[in-house]
């Protein structure tokens, strides 16, 4: 048991807070969904310690062992989510955000009322299991704001005003649903409308490019389809094709970026938008998935230790303790499996913050340390028109 679980397993548990009845649980191992679940006794004690503390007015928030972490979180005094992760570099911050998103997803699909006033546990269990079949697993292995599967190319003003959970979750939802030319899907908005469902209409404009519309009871999908497609999108076919070409790089081809930059993450804290890509700087260096993990770990590091979390970023009056920039040089010590030079050796990661923008870069080992900040500031400057 102990031997196997060391290899980066994540267990997500959802329980009814009052009764302790397990609603669902998901596990993943090495990023892939796994059938192997925690024994019931463990689930019971994990929930038990949390409840025990709750009765004594002590809220257990997290626990760590040498290589794994557990985070508890109760939502609306009704749903308790527990995540146990033994992935490398599992930070509490990351797990906490995961739980928030998972709860957001639950609201999105079944509505807050159902979750807070649990009348029929069995029914809820069934609902959740069905709805979350593919969904929760996808999220169990992916970190929230970094690696949104589908990217929002263009959004209306209204779309950008969506709260944090739904803004992240809706594109994911679209990405996880089976392919269809058009959908009419009821969703609750965890932030905006957790009680009353809305309709999410999706239309596939081109393969890989979907139009998402959030609307009320009107109009029916059958009307929307011919109306919208013909009138609005037919003339825009060429720009739409261009949009497709953007993925997966995320930024226009020919955009001047330094060749040493292997990946970037740009966040606009006020607009809550992000730009993320690891398809930069040629083939050499670590693989895209490794780059993604590196950036993700670095993001967690700087957010947890140096920069304030996004929500509180722009409060005035904390000028001294908050850094303006930071960088990390990875050690060259790690030798690859067959004595190969480790591709991660000497990689640099740099973060700068200016106003509402925060830029994180993954830079190749060629780039000298002292030039990192200059490089980052220049890049941020260049990217400013984009976001």
């Amino acid at each position: 048991m102990a031997e196997e679980s060391a290899a980066g397993a994540v267990h997500l548990l959802c329980l009814a807070a009052s009764s302790g009845v397990p609603l669902f649980s998901r596990s993943s191992r090495g990023g892939a969904p796994s059938r192997q679940q925690l024994p019931f006794s463990i689930i019971g004690s994990l929930n038990g310690v949390h409840m025990f503390g709750q009765n004594l007015d002590v809220t257990l928030r997290s626990a760590r062992t040498e290589d794994s972490a557990v985070v508890w979180k109760t939502f609306h005094d009704s749903i308790t989510l527990i995540v146990l992760s033994s992935e490398l570099g599992c930070a509490e911050l990351r797990l906490e955000r995961l739980l928030e998103l998972v709860f957001g997803a639950m609201v999105l699909l079944v509505g807050l009322e159902e979750l807070t006033k649990i009348r029929n546990v069995e029914r809820l269990k069934k609902d959740l299991r069905e709805a979350l079949a593919g969904f929760a697993e996808e999220m169990g292995s992916v970190f929230a704001s970094l690696v949104a599967g589908g990217r929002v190319v263009v959004g209306t003003e209204g779309w950008w005003r969506l709260g944090a959970p739904e803004a992240v979750l809706l594109p994911w939802l679209v990405g996880t649903l089976p392919f269809q030319a058009a959908r009419d899907y009821p969703v609750y908005l965890p932030h905006g409308s957790p009680m009353v469902p809305h309709r999410l209409l999706t239309l596939t404009l081109l393969p890989g490019l979907e139009l998402c519309v959030l609307c009320g009871p009107q109009p029916p999908l059958s009307q929307v389809e011919p109306q919208v497609l013909e009138r609005w999108w037919q003339p825009l076919l060429e720009p739409l094709r261009a949009c497709l070409a953007l993925t997966p790089r995320g930024i226009p081809a020919g955009f001047p970026l330094h060749p040493d930059i292997l990946g970037l993450l740009l966040l606009h804290l006020e607009q809550r938008r992000g730009l993320f890509t690891v398809d930069l700087g040629g083939e050499e260096g670590p693989s895209p998935s490794a780059r993604r993990r590196l950036l993700r770990s670095f993001y967690v590091l700087v957010t947890a230790t140096h920069f304030p979390p996004e929500e509180k970023a722009e409060e005035p009056g904390c000028p001294t303790g908050v850094p303006r920039a930071c960088y990390v040089v990875c050690g060259a010590a790690a030798e690859g499996p067959q004595g190969r030079q480790d591709p991660g050796a000497g990689l640099r990661l740099v973060a700068v913050q200016a106003g509402p923008r925060r830029l994180l870069l993954l830079v190749s080992a060629r780039s000298p340390t002292y030039a990192l900040r200059g490089l980052a500031t220049r890049t941020l400057h260049a990217l400013t028109p984009l976001l």
């Binding site: 060391a6 007015d57 062992t65 920039a325 050690g331 030798e335 050796a345 900040r373 500031t377």
Partner: protein, 924 residues
């Protein structure tokens, strides 16, 4: 043994004469003396000793702001702290008891004493705080606590034929004045006068006209006072009860100057095991706890709280943490099953407060320490619990023997009282002479480094100290030679280390022992104590348990010859600002230790003699501390741009560096402006050298005030060249700006200029440059910490140095530096752990490749900060901003080493490489 006992006496008498005057004469026998070592009374049951007295001269400096009359008793000459007090949990109680016992045994104690005990003549004043003059005059009492030392007194008494009342208490009572009518037995002890400098006068509470009614609750009259006082066995605190002569004077008497006492004295009192009220108050409301729990529950005897073997404290805020111990036990058990690794920490919300709890599991016991997150960040807490476990093992052999012996409880209470004081309010314990809160902030980071702060010394001084310590270690004291008495010596000296004002100046100890001893000293706050106050005499003796005692070697012979079970003893002798730690081994070459041997006089005196011998070095050590060190530092305030520059820099993004400008085409008008402001800043800094050149530029630049070039090269040409190279486009504009800034002298820095004027000849200037770590024309290094883990030492600027660099933002920068180092070090520790793991499974398993894509082996981490003066009063203008880097670097090869530096943003960052390579001569 008898032989050695005789020894003791020989040496003792030398020792008790004034040792300061004859440092050379430390081993001449003189037969006729019954005097014992001052500390000999304090030796504990298990041979432990913690004896501390402050030097006489310390009393003046200790309480600078308090009026002289209010000196309280501990400024007295001799004070003993012994663990007896701790065991009883109340200060001086046992002493009083002992004293009373003696009195009883001599039938001096009146029969009614026992009855009266509960309603002893305590201060009635307490109950009548608003008493008015008109009220019927009652007998009013006050208790005055004074410190008496009969040892001091005997000498004087013999000489001058004084009464003990005068000698011991400093109270003059003229017996002939007494009224005959009262009879001899009833004669009241009216205070007729006070001896200058006597304990009574020093207490400030004894007034002429008061009547001494009782000594330690024993009623006294002129008849029995001499007998009572003669029973005082040794230096101790004595409670005197006075009948107050005139209640009208009460108001002037009453305010005992508790607040006037410096925190430094609080530390001493804490060390003596007293309860220091103003220190405790703050702790009451803070949730913190230490628990030692057993995981093996005896199900048969289900007693309440039977799993708790030890816990501290008992305050209400901590009670809650105690009540949820079930969580900790369950987590410990369950997570180990699930994750396969020990649980290390958990976080709880308690009354809206985040509390971290660190776990330390050993065998089937669990040590837990909980502290609020805002006081102690989690990584810090994990280092702390590791240290606590290590100190306890060093002191008691194992956690079990520390916690499971009932008689240790009081000692542990004291231990953890100190621990939490240090953790939660370090600033109250450490008050250096400088008012800066430097220690409090740095202690958090520096205290948990696995090393000792080392003071580099000039070679001659180093050699002198080395030789003195080697002499001691050779244990070749004249009469100690084994041949002389034809018996084994008691101990072998394994090594010793010398601290001066808390800095390690020399160590002949293995690394692990050095670190353990330093941790022990740190825990008992000895470094701040020694650096602040001159120690009159400090002797600490205890058995210790080394981390890696000698094990039989793997050679086949080792099977036959077994290493004798050695026992180890730690002897710490302090004198003035020196602290000499000696590690002794019994068994092995020396004879075996039997039972719990107390401190041996010979070794104590040899150590003391070594310290006396080293008195000559003190001057050069002080000189070393006073002089700016290598590498030299700058104060952050010197780099503050004047307010004018600041206005401009505000319009520009603080993130833009000159790098950006040189390498990138200017795209917008706004960035052109930035360019200029950036360069103007640069040139302005260089400006003082233009007209004057050389070292006197500081003098010339006096009008400019803020001219922040602390150690400029005395070569104007070079500077000019550098400037031109750096500013191809902005030279003219900067020239104009230069004039403007010259007029504005907003932040003068008298210290900087004064120093330049005073003692920097041109030659010295060059020297400075040679010692400069950063590249470029200015010295931009603010602070550094270099940790060398193989020898267990680290080098960082001394407190004195930092104090010299005073300024408005420099302390703030230092604080932030330490805070940031803490988080950088946390990342490094993860890297090191990662390395260790990899060393364990060298075979390329798939995980190591997986690990590479995470940040785990971080070798360098830098963070850029900006700071501006606190309390910026000018409402119209935003404060000036100065940017600086904090960079940490981890070296694994050839030896594990960690370096943390803090420097100004203006330097081209390649300079750091230089700084890292230099590593302050530690590598050699």
């Amino acid at each position: 043994m008898a032989c050695f006992l005789r020894f003791k006496k020989h040496i003792m008498c030398i020792n008790s004469l004034d040792p300061h005057k004859q440092p050379g004469l430390w081993l001449r026998s003189s037969d006729s003396s019954d005097l014992e070592a001052e500390w000999s009374d304090s030796v504990q049951k298990y041979g432990e000793l913690f004896y501390l007295e402050l030097s006489d001269s310390e009393e003046e400096s200790l309480l600078p702001e308090a009026p002289a009359v209010n000196h309280v008793r501990f400024s007295e000459n001799k004070i003993i702290f012994d663990e007896d007090y701790l065991r009883e949990g109340r200060k001086y109680e046992p002493r009083l008891k002992k004293f009373s016992k003696i009195l009883k045994s001599r039938r001096l104690l009146p029969k009614r004493y026992n009855k009266k005990n509960s309603s002893a003549p305590v201060s009635i004043l307490k109950h009548q705080p608003t008493q008015k003059m008109g009220i019927i005059l009652q007998q009013q009492y006050k208790d005055v606590s004074v410190f008496v030392n009969p040892k001091n007194a005997t000498v004087i008494k013999a000489k001058e034929h004084l009464k003990l009342l005068e000698v011991l208490l400093g109270i003059i009572h003229q017996s002939k004045w007494r009224r005959k009518a009262e009879g001899a037995n009833r004669a009241k002890l009216v205070v007729h006068g006070l001896l200058p400098g006597g304990p009574a006068m020093k207490s400030g509470q004894v007034l002429i006209g008061d009547t001494l009614a009782a000594v330690n609750d024993v009623d006294v009259t002129s008849e029995n006072i001499e007998r009572v006082l003669s029973c005082i066995p040794g230096p101790m605190q004595v409670k005197l009860t006075f009948e107050i002569a005139n209640s009208g004077q009460k108001e002037t008497i009453q305010p005992k100057q508790k607040k006037a006492q410096t925190t430094g004295s609080d530390l001493v009192r804490l060390l003596w095991g007293e309860e220091v009220q103003n220190l405790q108050q703050n702790l009451q409301s803070t949730p913190h706890i230490i628990m030692y729990l057993t995981l093996q529950l005896d199900s048969e005897t289900s007693k309440e709280e039977q799993e708790i073997l030890y816990h501290y404290p008992t305050s209400e805020a901590s009670q809650k943490l105690k009540s949820v111990r079930g969580i900790f036990l369950t987590l410990c058990d369950m997570l180990e099953n699930v994750a396969g690794t020990h649980v290390t920490s958990s976080s709880l919300s308690l009354n809206e407060k985040l509390v971290h709890v660190a776990y330390w599991k050993e065998d089937d016991k669990l040590l837990l320490i909980g502290l609020p997150a805002e006081e102690v960040p989690l990584p810090q807490l994990r280092n702390m619990i590791e240290d606590v476990a290590q100190i306890l093992k060093f002191m008691y052999g194992s956690l079990n023997s520390a916690f499971c012996e009932v008689e240790n409880t009081a000692r542990l209470d004291h231990f953890f009282n100190l621990f939490f004081q240090r953790a939660i309010q370090p600033e109250k314990l450490y008050s250096r002479t400088s008012p800066q809160p430097y220690d409090a902030s740095s202690s958090l980071f520096v205290d948990t480094l696995p090393g000792v702060q080392w003071l580099t010394l000039p070679q001659e001084t180093q050699m002198e100290i080395d030789m003195a310590l080697s002499d001691l270690e050779a244990a070749d004291f004249a009469e100690l030679s084994e041949d002389y008495y034809d018996m084994r010596r008691l101990y072998t000296i394994l090594g010793c280390s010398l601290f001066y004002k808390g800095y390690l100046v020399c160590s002949h100890l293995p690394k692990d022992d050095l670190i353990d001893i330093a941790m022990y000293c740190r825990h008992y706050c000895l470094p701040p104590l020694v650096s602040e106050q001159r120690i009159g005499h400090l002797v600490i003796w205890r058995e210790v348990f080394r981390r890696h005692p000698l094990r039989p070697t793997s050679e086949p012979d080792a099977q036959v010859f077994r290493e004798p079970e050695g026992r180890y003893f730690l002897l710490i002798v302090g004198l003035k600002h020196f602290l000499l730690c000696v590690l002794l081994e019994a068994g092995g070459c020396a004879s075996k230790a039997i039972g719990h041997p107390g401190p041996d006089c010979i070794y104590v005196d040899q150590a003391k003699a070594t310290l006396l011998q080293l008195e000559g070095v003190e001057a050069s050590l002080d000189e070393r501390l006073a002089s700016p060190s290598n590498p030299c530092l700058s104060s952050a305030d010197w780099f503050l741009p004047s307010s004018r520059d600041k206005l401009e820099s505000l319009t520009s993004s603080p993130l833009l560096t000159k790098l950006q400008h040189t390498s990138r085409a200017i795209t917008s008008p706004s960035s052109r402006r930035r360019l200029f402001s950036d360069y103007s800043l640069k040139t302005r800094k260089l400006s003082p050298s233009r007209g004057s050149g050389g070292s006197d530029n500081g003098v010339e630049g006096a009008g400019e005030g803020s001219g922040p070039s602390p150690h400029t090269t005395p070569d104007p040409l070079r500077k000019q060249g550098a400037k031109e190279a750096q500013s191809p486009g902005g030279a003219q504009a900067s020239g104009a700006l230069l004039k403007a800034t010259k007029k504005k002298a907003t932040l003068p820095n008298p210290f900087h200029l004064g120093r330049l004027k005073k003692d920097l000849s041109e030659k010295e200037m060059e020297l400075f440059d040679a010692m400069k770590l950063t590249s470029g024309t200015e010295n931009t290094l603010f602070h550094y910490v270099a940790l060398e883990t193989v020898q267990g030492i680290f080098v960082t600027p001394t407190h004195e140095e930092v104090a010299q660099l005073h300024g408005s933002i420099h302390p703030q920068l230092i604080r932030n530096f330490h805070r940031c180092c803490l988080s950088i070090r946390t990342i490094f520790q993860q890297s090191l752990k990662c390395e260790k793991k990899k060393a364990l499974n060298v075979e390329g398993n798939p995980r190591s490749a997986h690990a590479a894509s995470f940040l785990s082996p971080v070798k360098e981490h830098g963070v850029l900060f900006e700071c501006s003066p606190e309390n910026w009063t000018d409402q119209k203008k935003p404060p000036p901003v100065m940017a600086y880097w904090v960079v940490g670097r981890l070296f694994l090869e050839p030896k594990p080493q960690e370096l943390y530096v803090c420097f100004h943003d203006s330097v081209t960052e390649i300079a750091i490489e230089l700084a890292f390579k230099l590593s302050f001569g530690l590598a050699t």
